[in-house]
Amino acid sequence: MAKIEFKNVGHCYDVSAENKVYALNPFSLTWEDGGRYALLGPSGCGKTTMLNIMSGLITPSDGNVYFDENDITNVITEERNIAQVFQFPVIYNTMTVFDNLAFPLRCRKFDEDKIKTKVHEVAELLNLTEFLNKLTKKLTADQKQLISLGRGLVREDVAAVLMDEPLTVIDPDLKFKLRRKLKEINAKYKTTLIYVTHDQNEAMTFADNIIVMNEGNVVQIGTPKELFEKPKTTFVGYFIGSPAMNIYPCDAVSDDEVSIGGLKLKVNTKLPDSQKSNLKLGIRSEYINVVNKKSENTVEANINLVEDFGNYKLISATNENIQIKVKVKRESVIPEDKILLEIPPEYCCIYNNEELVE
């Protein structure tokens, strides 16, 4: 258990190159002890680089890493007290389940009795007790991944458990059970858990704090609710939420009104000077309401497509040049071709040069 700090940490794989290309741009961040974090972003955004810097597999070209005030930037992985779980089960084929789980403890020369207790504890938690004496060769992919996970959890003194998309190979219904187990472990042992993924569902359901990354930059850090309701950049609005946020370029018509094409909408944000800004309006499909009466912020649109997703329906509608996606309950009555939509000002986000105007 430790507080982990990144101070101006950044990484460039080829420091000698003319134009240094940073896989991870320098940034600072504190990871609180016992927290549940997710690193979320598309492929190539730098999240795996960040994870590898934390575990010591990469020494950052810029900045320093601290564990509880100790500068461990140059400390090698074995001495860092980090457990890492990878996307694919990493298990030792020739050993039994018990030996696999015991391995990290045996390497550190723990007492056999202590090892036995700990292994049983973790096996119990992951429902692996009946498999303890079996050879790992005969197990299914998700059981193997559980062992991988278990191996990361046997050590009580780890500063953090780093997981790189560990549930990819697992069946959807088992995924939920595992996420729950991880949360229980976090609650019980107060181990810091850091979870890397490109799947926003996984990130949102698992973490208290999500670090959204894109192209080597940390774009926003926040709780799932904050990321959803107030995305700080248009990228976060696009990346979080299914479907992505509806985003439209617009112009400021007055202090609190914008115009998208010819459509005028009132907003709750104080708008910056129209001359020097590049404005966009973002509104999530969940917050748009289907209404019967025209009022201030209503838009009439033609329905192009209604998709049934089982849990909800998604309406794609167009008004002249703008396309709007609206999420509605599956049982709602949806008109044939024209629909009246209300865009509530309190849920509109205004972006200036892709950044949120508060």
């Binding site: 729950r180 490109h198 089982g310």
Partner: protein, 358 residues
């Protein structure tokens, strides 16, 4: 054109990969094979392609024996989960490969490849080597190659599952547009998936498969609204439909001591006895006048919260349409929408569906 499989069975080493699979496929339609991992989807697709033998059964295309035709004469196309392209060829050559094999003229090949490339949106990439492309681009090349062939049967084995979450959403629209276009009127499209929401979005005919056995077939809406048994109800919903064992006694549905409901009038014709009751997560609500349950875990996903709760032995998931935090062991009260209750008999077969009645 009609593809028919009769009693396909494949049982290597005492485990059923395919168990008496009898299905019919017609041209111009999209079929989604929906099932969990290892349920037999890939086995089925490979059998249609000719890559996997069967122990018993027949396959006919337009009433002519299809099973005895070797793979290379079958005129099918297949897109795999892992992005499979010929590594030693560039994008153009990859797409042209099957056409060259067919001995088409160079001019014809050029035209067909150009059409396929524009369908998947890879204009300008013709000379690139496969290794230089991202995952999504590689999968699009695989798709373009399948389209260029103008095969009679197009098989897709979870083609989007290895892609970034957002990319998956975007490519799904590419697929759908291709399927809806005229080009597919003469082909049979078979798409395998584990994701019920994906199956719903594709909106074709769904074939629900589990442990090698076909459980139900029908249009997506029909299978979703009227699952023929509990297994289908679980597979076609995410989160899985809540299945609660209960007893009908006199005028009540009894789940346990603390959880009893009045038998609604539309179910009054059912005899007393043991049943299974199904209700979706979206059809349960927080209700202060409802029944008391204890919270196990709450998961936030975008704009919704999935709450996993239990009461003694009963475990239930419900979906709340807002973001709320709950703690372990919190007490909540819930009620269910009685108009959306499914009734299954003691064997698990559907007796009553809220969409269809008996």
């Amino acid at each position: 054109m009609k593809l028919v499989t009769k009693n396909l069975t494949f049982k290597p080493e005492d485990e059923y990969y395919l168990n008496d699979v009898s299905l019919e496929f017609e041209a111009g339609r999209l079929y989604t094979i929906l099932g969990r991992t290892l349920s037999g989807k890939t086995s089925f697709l490979k059998t249609i392609a000719g890559l996997q033998p069967v122990d018993e059964g027949e396959i006919t295309l337009d009433e002519k024996d299809f099973r005895s035709i070797p793979v290379w004469e079958r005129n099918v196309a297949m897109v795999y989960q892992q992005f499979i392209n010929y590594p030693h060829l560039n994008v153009y050559e990859n797409i042209a490969f099957p056409l060259k094999q067919r001995k088409m003229s160079a001019a014809d090949i050029k035209q067909e490849v150009a059409v396929a490339i524009s369908q998947v949106g890879l204009e300008g990439f013709e000379a690139r080597k496969i290794q230089e492309l991202s995952g999504g681009q590689q999968q699009r090349v695989a798709l373009a190659r399948s389209l260029a062939k103008k095969a009679k049967i197009l098989l897709l084995d979870e083609p989007l599952v290895n892609l970034d979450y957002k990319l998956r959403e975007e490519l799904r629209y590419v697929f759908k547009n291709l399927f809806d276009s005229d080009l597919s009127t003469e082909s049979i499209l078979i798409y395998a998936s584990t994701d019920p929401q994906e199956a719903m979005q594709l909106n074709g005919d769904i074939v629900v498969i589990d442990e090698g056995r076909v459980l139900q077939t029908g249009p997506a809406k029909e299978v979703f609204e009227n699952p023929l048994n509990i297994k289908v109800a679980e597979i076609t919903n995410d989160p899985a439909m809540n299945i609660l064992p209960g007893i009908i006694d006199d005028k009540e549905i009894i789940f346990n001591e603390d959880f009893k409901l009045n038998l609604p009038s539309h179910l009054s014709h059912l005899d007393s006895g043991k049943y299974f009751f199904g209700v979706r997560a979206t059809d349960l609500n927080l209700d202060d006048s409802g029944f008391s349950f204890t919270v196990d875990i709450s998961e936030i996903s975008g704009s919704e919260t999935f709450l996993h709760i239990h009461q003694d032995e009963l475990k239930v998931v419900l979906m709340i349409e807002e973001v709320r935090n709950f703690n372990l062991d919190d007490q909540v009260k819930i009620s269910m929408d009685m108009n959306r209750l499914y009734v299954f008999d003691a064997n698990g077969d559907l007796i009553f569906s809220p969409y269809r009645g008996n």
